[in-house]
């Protein structure tokens, strides 16, 4: 704890010099980081325009129940009767029978609004982020269903396991005060 010899010899001089150098280096690192300082934390999010709905989000998350869920952007939704995100392609009867549903966990709720419009909601407790509905909606519908990292679930790992597995680099870090990358509404 105590420094026995305070005499200035070559060894102590070198040691003190190195010590000062290390402290200065740490100061430079702090300064360099603060120069680019951003007040918020960064969080992971999926760019919906890069996502190819490959289903890796369902399996690669470190959480048992993936933090990635399907999001319904109602403003884009066509409220279709035959929703390609809700029904399987070969579905013969457009009713809520499980055999017609595309979603493996029945996480999409179909509600009649008025003829011919139906509203589709995601039950996040059931959604596993497999992106089957996303694929259907993007292929035949408006693409209002897409995957997003839900930040009430995400642990914000320093290296997101899904980002590592993502084949298109759709995962990126975004500022925590704007944590979602929703699709742009574009009624052409």
């Amino acid at each position: 704890m105590t420094q026995n010899d305070k005499t200035i010899n070559r060894r102590n001089f070198l040691r003190d010099g190195l010590w000062g150098g290390c402290l200065a280096t740490l100061g430079i690192v702090a300064g360099a980081s603060a120069r680019k300082k951003r007040n918020n934390d960064l969080v992971w999010q999926i760019d919906p325009y890069k996502c190819i709905a490959c289903d890796r989000c369902a399996t690669f998350c470190v959480l048992e129940d993936s933090a990635v869920k399907c999001v319904q952007l109602y403003e884009i939704c066509g409220y279709c009767d035959f929703c390609p995100g809700y029904f399987e392609l070969g579905a013969t009867v457009l009713d809520t029978g499980a055999e017609n549903e595309l979603c493996p966990t029945g996480a999409i709720k179909r509600t009649f609004i008025e003829d011919p419009y139906y509203e589709y909601d995601i039950d996040e407790a059931l959604c596993i982020g497999c992106a089957k509905c996303v694929k259907g909606c993007a292929a035949f519908g408006n693409g209002s269903l897409f995957l997003q990292v839900r930040h009430d679930r995400c642990l914000n790992c320093n290296e997101c396991s899904i980002a590592v597995a993502c084949p298109t680099g759709a995962f990126k870090r975004v500022p925590a005060d704007e944590p979602y990358l929703l699709k742009k509404v574009d009624h052409a």
Partner: protein, 434 residues
């Protein structure tokens, strides 16, 4: 309305068949006439609030301060252990690990090399605070604050000593690990420290099986060999070791003077107690002098060889970058060596980007890996060289001392020192009675 929709639907199918899969708004938004249904908005639950991140940084600061006090002033192993338990619970199980100081190395390196990435201030704090504390007070962070160290400290029940040569040799892994982590972070390829963090799955109580097995094995080894991750793998520990060599204050086994009683000799489970050393015999001294001269000349050769080998590995290391992997896949597909396309290559072709551009990007990244390989390999060569020099330099020691670099400041040795018992007034000066 219905027929129109069916026509549009048919159109959509034809679009799909022609390969157009990205979402476009094919159907107009609904036009409610019978009901006045309002179109809802999706919910957007926010992430953990910033304030908690700042609290984490403050808790880290407080824990480091307290650890320093307990190690250097209070000299109480029991109190240090209590703080270790707290750190394990708080930084490990409650905070669930991320961002930790070890992983923060990569964020800092990444931010230096990537102009777009600004490292959050809390991450900077997690990286710097333990380093600054180490520069002043030794490895207080390792002793009682780091959750990875804490979990290993908990399981250390039957410590066995590792021979010096094995300790030195195995420690090289940590240097290689650090060098690789920096290389991959600098090139923006991967955060390997996080990917192979052995205990994170335990803290989160979920995660991939492989990592759980890795963590379990390390803990099993940790029952006998004290803190295997800290000693032989931890890349942050490598930096802390070097700073700890220079620290202003540090752990001393005895509170005042060493009486050479040898009672502490085997008390350190991490092999960090240095015994007093006698003068080298005359003839051995001459051999050692020659050996040192040879090793000094060998040093630049080792650095060059390491760099040469490191840059030669660019074909392997650059595979860590997704662009390089994609370029390779595309190249093999285009040359008919692989028939089956991957999701990544299919998605790449859908973007309509030129393969030439991709190859150029990949070539640039490979060039960076070649440069990085020189630095990485040179660094490892330098470490090996310096280690050899360190082994052949004689240092005079009169007392039992805690190794400046290797001491994890856990405080286990304190109670072995009779002078400590005198200090605590459990034993009278000179009486030899308890």
């Amino acid at each position: 309305m219905r027929p129109l929709r069916n026509i549009l639907f048919g159109l959509a199918i034809s679009l799909f068949v022609t390969g157009m899969t990205t979402g476009v708004e094919r159907f107009p938004p609904p036009d409610f006439v019978e009901t006045d249904h309002v179109i809802p908005s999706p919910t957007s639950p926010g992430p953990r609030q910033d304030v908690y991140e700042y609290i984490d940084a403050l808790v880290l600061l407080a824990a480091l301060g307290l650890a320093t006090y307990l190690i250097l002033k209070k000299r109480s192993r029991r109190a240090i252990f209590a703080l270790t338990v707290f750190s394990l619970l708080y930084f490990g199980f409650w905070r669930k690990g991320c961002v930790c100081s070890i992983g923060a190395i990569q964020n800092i390196v990444f931010s230096i090399f990537d102009p777009d990435y600004a490292v959050p201030i809390v991450v900077v704090a997690f990286f710097l605070l333990p380093l600054v504390f180490t520069l002043f007070f030794g490895r207080a962070f390792c002793a009682a604050v780091c959750p990875l160290g804490a979990i290993q400290d908990m399981v250390l029940a039957r410590p066995v000593s590792v021979p010096d040569w094995a300790e030195s040799g195995l420690r090289l892994f940590a240097y290689v690990y650090l060098a690789l982590a920096v290389l991959f972070a600098a090139t923006g390829s991967a955060f390997v420290i996080c990917r192979y963090d052995p205990f994170i799955s335990i803290f989160r109580l979920s995660g991939s099986l492989n990592i759980l097995i890795l963590g379990g094995c390390l803990l099993l080894i940790g029952v006998f060999i004290g803190r295997p991750y800290c000693r032989f793998l931890c890349p942050y520990g490598v930096i802390l070791r070097q700073l700890s060599r220079l620290s202003k204050w540090r752990v001393t086994i005895t509170p005042d003077e060493c009486i050479q009683c040898r009672l502490c000799e085997d008390s350190c489970p991490f092999g960090a107690i240095k015994k007093p050393s006698a003068q080298w015999p005359e003839q051995e001294y001459h051999i050692a002098k020659k050996r040192l001269a040879f090793l000094l000349l060998l040093l630049p050769v080792l650095v060059f060889l390491g760099g040469w080998a490191g840059s030669g590995l660019k074909g392997v290391t650059s595979q860590a970058h997704e662009t390089v992997r994609l370029a390779k896949q595309i190249y093999l597909e285009d040359n008919g060596q692989i028939v089956e396309a991957t999701d990544a290559s299919t998605a790449f072709r859908a973007t309509g980007q030129q393969t030439k551009e991709l190859y150029e990007q990949a070539a640039n990244i490979r060039a960076r890996f070649e440069m990085g390989g020189w630095i990485l390999g040179g660094f490892i060569g330098l470490i090996i060289g310096l280690k050899l020099i360190g082994l052949s330099v004689w240092r005079r020691r009169t007392d039992y001392e805690a190794d400046r670099a290797g001491c994890l400041a856990c405080g286990r040795c304190y109670k072995y020192c009779p002078r400590e018992h005198v200090r605590l007034k459990k034993m009278k000066e000179g009486s030899g009675k308890w």
